[in-house]
Each structure stands twice: as structure tokens, then as C-alpha cells.
Amino acid sequence: MTTQSIIKVKNLIGGYGEEVILNNINFDVKESEILVILGGSGCGKSTLLRHMVGLNRPMGGNIYVDGVDIASCHDAEFKKTLKKIGILFQGAALFGSMTVAENIALPILEYTDLPKKSIKNLIRMKLSLVELDGYENHLPFELSGGMKKRAGLARALAINPKILFLDEPSAGLDPITSAEIDQLILHINKVLGTTVVIVTHELASIFAVAQRVVMLDKKKKGIIAEGDPKFLKQHSENETVKAFFNRTSKSAIQPDRN
């Protein structure tokens, strides 16, 4: 396994409109690793993800995805880069008017020239990978939350992206389904060698899948910790990091015992 960086974020300034949410962010994502971006609500995790996949242009700095600076590249180059990434949105973002199979076929039809029969087989493979065998002809509203996530994951994996971005993959799921999704992520990473970038604040998921974490903070508008989550939990000096990993309240509200 190479340890080359596949994503490099340099001096990134990000936010919406005039409001700066992320200030001077620097970090790398190594090839074939699972990196978790974490932090409390409103710290800019999702904003960072939106910048990394090119949905929002940053106010400053560079984001190199597989060597291309998506903050400043041309449209043609950007489109090429998009082929290398797959995204699972928080609500799965399946197209409601299409069946699960049609949803997955969309990127395959756009980016490959497979014959129709092979596309059908490939869709079956992808669905089997996310353990949704037999759900080809279901419409998204007929699926449960966990199944929608899986179908979204199958669509994100449709053209075998080098990098997979997952926005809160286990949000709103029961612990068992959530653990299954975690296993699936590990499996995909191991077998296909896909680099995975996850945004989440679910502690159980973080410890289950993360090889490295990048922790953001709302007040500092930047990274306050980076490294192995187990190490950070035990050895971090930072109050916020400690409170996050140990699930304690930082403001330490004492219950009134009188």
C-alpha cells in the first residue's frame, strides 16, 4: 500500500457567502486510508466536505484531489476529477422518480460504454455488495432509512471511484444497521482499495472505522486535533477533544442536589 497523498487541502478558507466557517485548514488524505472528519454540530464538517467535492468554491486556498486543484481548475478538468469521486449524501439523495437500479445505472451509462446486459449484471453486483439483493425495481420511497443509505452507497460506488465521500453515513440509523454500514465501509476499503473520507460525529463509528481523524472546532474555525482516534482519546491535552471522545459536557453543569 502506498502512502501517497490523494487529497491535499492547503490553507483552505471556507464558508458560505461572506461568513467564514473554516479558516486556514491544512491536511492530507493518504491513498487507501479511511479518514474521519469529526467535530461538534456547526463546526463546518459538512462545509469542508462540500468544498472537497467541489459543490462550493472555497474563498481561498487550494484543494488538490488526485493532483488537480479543484478550487481553481477548468470545468473540463473538474468533470474528469468528478469521475474519481463518489459521494453518499446524508439523506442518500436517491432520485425519487427512478428505481434503485435506474439510480445506480445513471453514472454507469454516463461514464462507461458497457453493453446493457453487463450493466444489469454490474448493478446486481453493486447491490449485492451493499446487501440489497433483489431491490432493483423498488422506488426509493419504498425503502427504509438504512436501505436508502445502502442504495446511495451502491450508486456512489457505481463507477468505482478512487475516493468515496460519506456524509453522516450512520446518522439516524439503529446501532445494528449502523454497525453493518461500518463493516461495509471497511470491506469496500479493504477489497477495492478505495480511499474513504467520512464526516460523522458518531463515536462508535469513528472507533470502528477510522484509521485517522481530523477534528474541527467551531470556535477556532480550524483543526484542533489530527491522528489516531484511540491515541487522541487517551493522550490529548485539548479540553474539547477530551470532552468529545469521552462524551462529557465541557461546561460541566453540576446538577443541583438540593
Binding site: G96, S118, S128, L139
Partner: protein, 381 residues
């Protein structure tokens, strides 16, 4: 298999021996770009060349993923279908783990459920009748639910959401004045102009005023207004409520103890009942103004004679009849709009369908009720 450089393009070579054994040697990068072309070519080659067995050598591949696995699977299936031997050479752990990923599928029979293309016409008739039956049943139950909500408002007037009603009156009424005014003015203009061509031959120019007044006040004013409101607001009601339905806002209302009909439908219905007749009145006035313009500029009538002829022709009954009709139309439009909104199930496309259906159904009902009114009036008068 090593991964020295992932950028070597994909190539394949066919090696035949005299026994009829064929080996396909795969080299380079077997990815999503390569798989399509390869698969398109290989099926024909296999069927024409393989006579006893086929070996696929993947040792020289430097990139392999599930697209490659797909290609191998399809080759295997193709070979099996012509009863020949298949062998894979040069696998390693990584390849095997990718193949295992889909192993269940490699063995799985073709059991994808595809909906049958031809269906029994009896089943189709039955399904469609059931659909219509449930649709009509829902419509009737919605009539009941609206009636109950109105009853509640009569008993407890405070339960009407006045703020929402006023906003809705503004959106449905005030904002529609310019378009209703323009359309009616032009309609009056056209009517006066077209009728004057005939009436001029008899020197009956002055009756243009009567014609425009009667036609607009009792028929076209209410209908044109209703059609504009159906297009502007009926569709908006359906889309608003439909969107709330799919984002579970309606469910949230219900669980908080609100009656969704009272909360969402009644303000819209009340607002429409108030503003649509007023809009119809505006429509009448603008149309008469349109007729007046033609009368004064082209038919040598004076403004005062045109107006006095109009007043003479119109009776209070005529005006009230028109307004009453437009109240009924208002009820139909807002009821259908809300109904279609509440019927939404699914996603974004369903909201679009609801909006379309709201407009089509309400225009149909407007014309239907207008003909009923025409019949009633004929036998009444």
C-alpha cells in the same frame, strides 16, 4: 500481480493452440473504461474461436476491480452456455477477494424480478377501476373533512388561522389583479371588436356594450378568473401541501394535535372564497373598459352612452349570479388544489404531478359546473 504503474492501457491477446484451446492474455489496466469495449468484442471472439476450452490469464494485469470481475463473470457464463471449459490463471489474493465479493452472484441464477411486459386486460381494467374507486372515496372523505373543519370554524371562529388566511388572500387575490385585469381588458376589446363587425351592418353599434356586459358578467368574467386562479394558485396549493407531505411536515402537524385540514386547507379555501369573486368583479370592470375603448375609438360611441347602455343591460341578478358562480369555482379550485396536495406520496415527481393534476381537474370541474349553472338558469328563468 503487481501495481508498478497503473497507467498502462488495457490490451488483450488471443493465443490458440492446435487442440482448440484458447488462452486470453490480459495486460494493463482493466477498469471501467476498458471493460465495456473488451466485453463488446470478446463475446463474438469466444463463440467463433473456442472449440474445447478457454483460459484467461490475468497475471499481467496491473489494475483489477469489480468491472474486471464483471468481465470475467460474463466470459465464464458465455463459455458455460456453449458447454466448454473455463479456467482462470494468475489469480492472487486480491483478485480472489474481489471475485468473492460477487461470488453469490456468479452462482445465482437469473432471478431478477422484471415486471411482465404484457398484462391481462382484465387485470388492467380491475386495477384501474380500483384506483378510481379509491380516488373518489378519498375525494368524498376530503369533502367531509373540509365540511367538519368549516363546522368547527363556525362554532369556534378563533380556530381559523387568520394570519395564514390573509397571506393567502394576498397571494391568490392581490397578486393576481394585474394578470386578470390584462386578460379581461383584452378579452373585452376582442369581443367588442369582433361583434362590431356584425352589428355595424345593422347600425346597432350601441348593442356592443350590452353584448360585452352580459357575456362578461354572467359567463366569461367568472370563468376566465377561475382559470387564471386555478393556474396560479390551485397548482401552488397542491405543490405547497405536497412538499409538506413528503417532508413529513403534515405528519408533524398531525402528531402535534393539529388537524391538517383545518391548518392547511381551510385558510386557503376561505381566502379563495373571499378573493375570487372580487377578482371576478375586477375582471368584469376591466372587460367593460376594454369594450368601451373599442366603442369610443372605432364605433363613434360616446363614453357616456356606452356606460349608460351597459348599466341598462345589467341587472343586479346578473351580477350576483356571476359572483355566486365564481364563489363556487373558488371552492372547487381550492378544494382540488388542497386535495391533490394531500394525496402526494413519493418524491419530487409526485409533487409535480399533483400540481398538474390540480390544474387539469379544477379546469374540468369549472367547465362542468358552469354547464350545470347554464342548465339550472334555463329552467329557472
Amino acid at each position: 500481480m503487481s501495481f508498478p504503474s497503473e497507467n498502462v492501457p488495457f490490451q488483450y491477446e488471443l493465443i490458440e493452440n492446435k487442440m482448440g484451446d484458447v488462452t486470453i492474455l490480459l495486460k494493463g489496466r482493466m477498469d471501467k473504461e476498458a471493460a465495456g469495449t473488451f466485453l463488446r468484442q470478446i463475446h463474438k471472439l469466444i463463440k467463433s474461436k473456442v472449440s474445447s476450452s478457454l483460459s484467461v490469464d490475468i497475471e499481467s494485469l496491473n489494475y483489477f476491480d469489480d468491472y474486471g470481475a464483471l468481465a470475467l463473470m460474463e466470459i465464464k457464463e458465455c463459455i458455460k452456455s456453449i458447454d466448454k471449459q473455463f479456467k482462470l490463471i494468475g489469480t492472487n489474493d486480491r483478485v480472489i477477494s474481489i471475485l468473492n465479493l460477487f461470488d453469490r452472484n456468479l452462482q445465482a441464477p437469473n432471478d431478477i424480478k422484471t415486471p411482465p411486459t404484457t398484462r391481462n386486460p382484465l387485470v388492467l381494467v380491475g386495477e384501474s377501476s380500483l384506483k378510481h374507486f379509491f380516488n373518489i372515496r378519498y375525494m368524498l372523505s376530503f369533502v367531509g373533512s373540509v365540511a367538519l373543519a368549516f363546522l368547527q370554524i363556525i362554532i369556534h371562529p378563533k380556530s381559523l388561522r387568520y394570519g395564514d388566511t390573509l397571506t393567502c388572500m394576498e397571494k391568490t387575490g392581490v397578486a393576481a389583479v394585474p394578470i386578470v385585469g390584462l386578460i379581461s381588458f383584452l378579452l373585452g376589446l376582442i369581443m367588442a371588436f369582433m361583434s362590431s363587425i356584425q352589428l355595424q351592418q345593422f347600425g346597432a353599434n350601441i348593442y356592443v356594450a350590452s353584448l360585452v356586459a352580459i357575456a362578461m358578467v354572467s359567463e366569461l368574467g367568472p370563468i376566465m378568473t377561475a382559470i387564471v386562479v386555478a393556474g396560479r394558485s390551485g397548482s401552488a396549493f397542491a405543490a405547497e401541501i405536497g412538499t409538506m407531505k413528503i417532508s413529513e411536515e403534515v405528519d408533524a402537524l398531525y402528531t402535534m394535535g393539529f388537524n391538517p385540514t383545518l391548518f392547511l386547507a381551510v385558510p386557503r379555501i376561505v381566502a379563495s372564497l373571499i378573493v375570487v369573486p372580487i377578482l371576478a368583479l375586477f375582471s368584469d370592470i376591466f372587460a367593460i373598459a376594454g369594450g368601451l375603448t373599442v366603442g369610443v375609438l372605432m364605433l363613434d360611441l360616446t363614453a357616456s352612452s356606452y356606460i349608460s347602455q351597459t348599466i341598462e343591460t345589467l341587472t343586479l341578478f346578473e351580477v350576483t349570479w356571476g359572483l355566486m358562480k365564481s364563489m363556487v369555482f373558488a371552492l372547487l379550485i381550492s378544494w382540488v388544489g388542497c386535495l391533490r396536495g394531500f394525496q402526494v406520496r413519493g418524491g419530487a415527481a409526485a409533487v409535480g404531478n399533483a400540481a398538474t393534476s390540480a390544474v387539469v381537474t379544477s379546469i374540468f370541474l369549472i367547465i362542468l359546473f358552469d354547464s350545470l349553472f347554464a342548465i339550472i338558469r334555463t329552467y329557472w328563468g
